[in-house]
């Protein structure tokens, strides 16, 4: 692989996968979910 391709692959991974990881951490910390409750599928 060329250097440019390697750099762009790493950038893509960092931005997209890193962004997902940050988003998951953010949502977990925000912790505003409702308590588990069983909904009936009526």
């Amino acid at each position: 692989m060329s250097t440019a391709a390697v750099v762009m692959m790493i950038v893509a991974m960092l931005v997209v996968w890193g962004g997902l990881a940050l988003a998951v951490v953010h949502v977990s910390r925000a912790g505003r979910d409702e308590p588990d409750e069983v909904h009936r599928d009526l």
Binding site: V15, A30, E34
Partner: protein, 514 residues
């Protein structure tokens, strides 16, 4: 059986729902991650600047994809209904048409989408002994699908009929089981399984000879592409089609989520998870294509392809030539089946939810009332020797002149006619962990419709320049334009039919009582 009398804490008829946010997010990811992530994104990126495509792609995700996803979430979560009921509560009888338009589009998509899953089921087993032999192309269109000239016939292909019947039995069973016990459980089990299967597939592909050349082709940036408006249109188109936005799915799913749920944070996770899977798919697919090019002694450009050609012609070649190819085959086609199935249930749920709301039916009754006719139409139209041209045409037109058009119209109407973006933003901000400012209103009300209109015009130009795939006029006009027009006409009619008296058409109170 009616739901009357079974009311939730807000005084409305209970509709069922996801048990918690995690299940909702997995279901939404399952909907967004579909066949397009695996067989469309890699080629679109490769064709539109390689590594440089990342820039327009991320811009499109941030300025249009995620904002639009949050609009869908906001509508469904605020108005607590299927697409027609949500739009009815948002803007009255005329707005309800938008919801039925989306429902019609989903009905069309569901009946052909199931067929591709049935093909993938067969190919999972074909992979074990490489049934396609030395000529995957001839095997696909000849031996397996027995494709005849374009037409509408009833010559059934047994090899498609039976797996398609099984797919529909599974789908109907999931839908009857309900939102949590059916869709929720399916997503909780299969989405992690899909990611695991694809990780193993990518790991195997990366160690094939020639994989580096494939990744080189995918990621080498062509910066000159950034000045090409067509590349930007491709990025917006990819983001739009990939996220399952604009045609009712995310409205429907959001209506099944608890009132205090953080929808903006959830949207961020879902949007980025979808893109993460696309990136993973791009790496896996192009590593495999690099191997194929090297093994065949041709340039990568000669083997790079997308869609049916990638899945059912190129991958069989890779499976036949790679060491332990059967493993690659089973993982690849099983991934297609899972990705397709979790998307299909979300598409058909739009229709079931709408019928259920309008007629105030029970879950099981609505699922059967929608699922059985959809299965029958799917089998009658597409499990035949004439099914492939019909499928190809319906898919091409309903995506462009169904989904794209309703998306543009709905953003414009919600923003400029009903002026409902500010209330929706306030609603999302009430419990959202990512605060939406006035920038969100500008992105949804101006940037997104302008970008999608440009994409639409480009598509219109392409389809008017030459007949799609060289198909005859009757097919393109009757099935292509016909299906796109029919769903709009049906929407106009259905929006004028009365609701059951037991259905509350007023906007829900914003007070949370539980």
């Amino acid at each position: 059986m009616s739901n009357q009398g079974q009311v939730d804490a807000t005084g409305r008829n209970a509709r069922g729902g996801f048990t918690n946010r995690r299940v909702f997010m997995l279901a939404a990811i399952g909907s967004a991650v579909g066949l397009g992530n695996i067989w469309r994104f890699p080629y679109v990126a490769y064709e539109n600047g390689g590594g440089a495509f990342l820039i327009p792609y991320l811009v499109a995700l941030l300025v249009a994809g995620l904002p639009f996803l949050l609009l869908d979430y906001g509508i469904g979560h605020r108005y607590r209904g299927s697409a027609p009921l949500s739009f009815r509560r948002l803007g009255g009888a005329s707005a309800e048409t938008l919801g039925w338009w989306q429902v019609g589009i989903c009905a069309v998509i569901a009946i052909y989408y199931a067929v591709i899953i049935a093909w993938a089921v067969r190919y999972t087993f074909f992979s074990l002994d490489q049934s396609w032999g030395d000529a995957p192309d001839e095997f696909l269109f000849g031996d397996f699908l027995q494709v005849a000239d374009p037409g509408i016939g009833l010559d059934f292909v047994a090899g498609v009929f039976w797996p398609l019947l099984v797919v529909w039995l599974v789908v109907v069973a999931v839908m009857v089981a309900g939102v949590q016990k059916g869709i929720g459980r399916l997503s909780v089990v299969f989405i992690p399984l899909l990611v695991a299967a694809f990780l193993v597939l990518v790991g195997r592909s990366l160690f094939l000879p020639g994989a580096g050349a494939g990744l080189d082709a995918l990621f080498t940036p062509n910066w000159g592409a950034l000045t090409d408006a067509g590349v930007w249109a491709a990025a917006f188109g990819q983001i739009f089609f990939s996220l399952s936005i604009g045609f009712g799915i995310m409205i429907t799913y959001a209506s099944y989520v608890g009132r205090r749920t953080d929808m903006t944070g959830s949207g961020l996770v879902v949007g980025l998870a979808n893109s993460s899977f696309e990136l993973l798919a791009g790496i896996g697919v192009f590593a495999a294509l690099g191997f194929m090019a090297q093994a065949s002694g041709v340039a990568l450009d000669d083997v790079a392809t997308e869609g049916l050609g990638l899945a059912f012609v190129a991958f069989p070649v890779i499976i036949s030539e790679a060491p332990a190819g059967a493993v690659i085959g089973v993982l690849f086609f099983a991934s297609l089946v899972i990705a397709g199935l979790t998307s299909l249930v979300s598409v058909i749920e739009v229709v079931i939810s709408a019928v259920r709301d309008k007629l105030d039916l029970s879950r099981a009754t609505a699922s059967l009332a929608v699922g059985v006719p959809a299965a029958a139409a799917s089998i009658l139209l597409f499990a035949t020797t004439t099914g492939v041209p019909l499928l190809d045409t319906a898919d091409y037109y309903i995506n462009r002149f169904g989904i794209l058009v309703v998306a543009v119209v709905s953003t414009v109407v919600v923003t400029w006619v009903y002026r409902d973006l500010d209330p929706i933003r306030d609603h999302l901000n009430t419990y959202g962990s990512v605060r939406l400012g006035s920038w969100w209103v500008v992105l949804v009300g101006v940037v997104t419709p302008v970008a999608l209109t440009y994409v639409l015009i480009e598509e219109l130009r392409a389809v008017l320049a030459e007949p799609y795939s060289g198909y005859p006029g009757w097919l393109l006009n009757g099935i292509g334009w016909g299906s796109a027009a029919l769903v709009l006409v049906l929407a106009l009619v259905l929006a004028r039919l009365p609701w059951r008296a037991s259905v509350d058409l007023s906007a829900p109170s914003q007070e949370v009582t539980r």
